[in-house]
């Protein structure tokens, strides 16, 4: 696998896995407005996936399409962050996970807008506009719920305690990242940590939430070595149609 192909899989798998998770709320959100918002966020993410995995498939030159990559790979071939495959649990947990990712994705895409790879720069410019309003919404909601009732505060603090150990993986740099950085294709993930900290610290303060002191980080999603068991369960639902009826189309 070329480094560029892996990098593109990481981008596309992040938006695909989160997009699918968010879509699980369709028809089940606590209020109609939230249901619509979640479904639309999922749509944006799946649309971005088509661009990332579409490019990945072209780079791979193995005759696969974006759909093949999404629906016919197994869990160990996925390159998404572990954070994004964690189950939804509850509404607050879902929005906090979204916020922790949005706060990372916005500066990442902003940096990718000046990638030496023009196609990546174009995708990032398009996706960046959407990530920006995803961040506004997830941030506002996290603050409102954290600084809300005693019950909503408790739920948000619990979500933060559960999700915190999954955030470190976003800033891990490996051989793929080194190759991307060397060619000016993408920034070093570690360089995004400061801006992420600034965004997250400010929001958590307003939300009256405390991040755990322990900085232990779960790893193994972006390199595919150790996904959680949740990803296979998610894929079994997401891929069931193509697995049961190969080649089925609308």
């Amino acid at each position: 696998m070329s480094a560029l192909f892996q990098f593109l899989l990481r981008q596309g798998d992040n938006t695909l896995v989160l997009g699918h998770r968010v879509s699980e709320w369709c028809g089940a959100a606590p209020a109609l407005e939230e249901d619509i918002a979640l479904a639309n966020t999922a749509l944006d993410l799946i649309g971005q996936t088509q661009m990332w995995l579409g490019y990945a498939a072209e780079i791979e030159e193995a005759g696969r399409t974006a759909d093949d990559l999404a629906f016919l790979r197994d869990a160990y071939d996925f390159r998404n962050l572990l954070l994004l495959e964690t189950p939804n649990r509850n509404f607050g947990h879902t929005l906090l996970r979204q916020f922790l990712f949005d706060a990372y994705q916005v500066p990442l895409l902003a940096s990718l807008e000046s990638s030496t790879d023009q196609r990546i720069a174009d995708i990032a410019t398009k996706a960046g506009k959407e990530a920006q309003y995803h961040l506004e919404r997830s941030q506002d909601t996290v603050i409102a719920l954290g600084d809300g009732t005693e019950q909503s505060h408790t739920i948000m603090q619990d979500a933060l305690n559960r999700l915190w150990s999954y955030t470190g993986e976003m800033f891990e740099s490996d051989i793929v990242d080194e190759a991307m950085t060397a060619n000016g294709i993408a920034p070093d993930p570690t360089s995004l940590r400061d801006v992420w900290n600034t965004t997250v610290d400010a929001a958590l303060k307003l939300a009256d939430l405390k991040a755990p002191e322990d900085n232990f980080a779960h790893k193994g999603g972006k390199n595919g070595r150790r996904h959680t068991e949740h990803l296979s369960h998610m894929l079994s639902t997401m891929q069931v149609l193509q697995r049961s009826y190969p080649g089925a189309s609308w």
């Binding site: 407005e33 939230e34 619509i36 918002a37 639309n40 966020t41 999922a42 749509l43 944006d44 993410l45 799946i46 649309g47 971005q48 088509q50 661009m51 023009q118 720069a121 174009d122 995708i123 410019t125 398009k126 996706a127 506009k129 959407e130 309003y133 506004e136 919404r137």
Partner: protein, 155 residues
């Protein structure tokens, strides 16, 4: 059946007849997603820029454009998607903006908020949700006439 190639001005006019499937009072031209129309030999090439990455209307829009042009006698068509430069609400035509307002959808503004309630024109408005009935719209409410309304988000 036309045997001669229609000029591009005529093509643009035909495209004006294709409505946005989700906001039928404006055309795909008003929406600003048609970036170029050009004959490449005997094939008409149309460049389309999607509004939002996940906009489910894009497939319908492509099918509607094809249907309209085939009806006008243009049978050899190539519809190409172009993502850069990224679509922006700045590309909405003035006619499109006026139509949106008449239809009850507040047109997008750089300020990021609706100018006024599209129904009673009151400036006392508040946001209900960042997402409305489609990804391109947010849900707002007028605190004068109390009606909820869609605001076309500015991106």
């Amino acid at each position: 059946m036309t045997t001669q190639q229609a000029n591009t001005k005529q093509i643009w006019h035909w495209l004006e007849l294709v409505p946005d499937p989700e906001i039928p009072v404006i055309s795909v031209v008003d929406l600003g997603i048609i970036r170029d129309v050009e004959w490449k030999g005997d094939v008409l090439e149309i460049i389309i820029t999607p509004t939002y990455s996940g906009c489910p209307a894009m497939a319908v829009i492509a099918a509607d454009i094809r249907a309209e042009l085939v009806k006008q006698g243009v049978n050899k068509l190539s519809l190409k998607t172009q993502i850069a430069p990224a679509w922006t609400t700045d590309w909405l035509s003035d006619k499109g903006r006026a139509r949106l307002e008449e239809y009850g959808i507040a047109p997008p503004r750089q300020a990021g908020t609706p100018q006024h309630c599209p129904l009673c024109k009151s400036t006392s408005v508040e946001k209900i949700s960042q997402f409305g009935s489609t990804p391109c719209k947010a849900l707002w409410r007028c605190t004068s006439c109390l009606e909820p309304f869609d605001y076309f988000k500015c991106i």
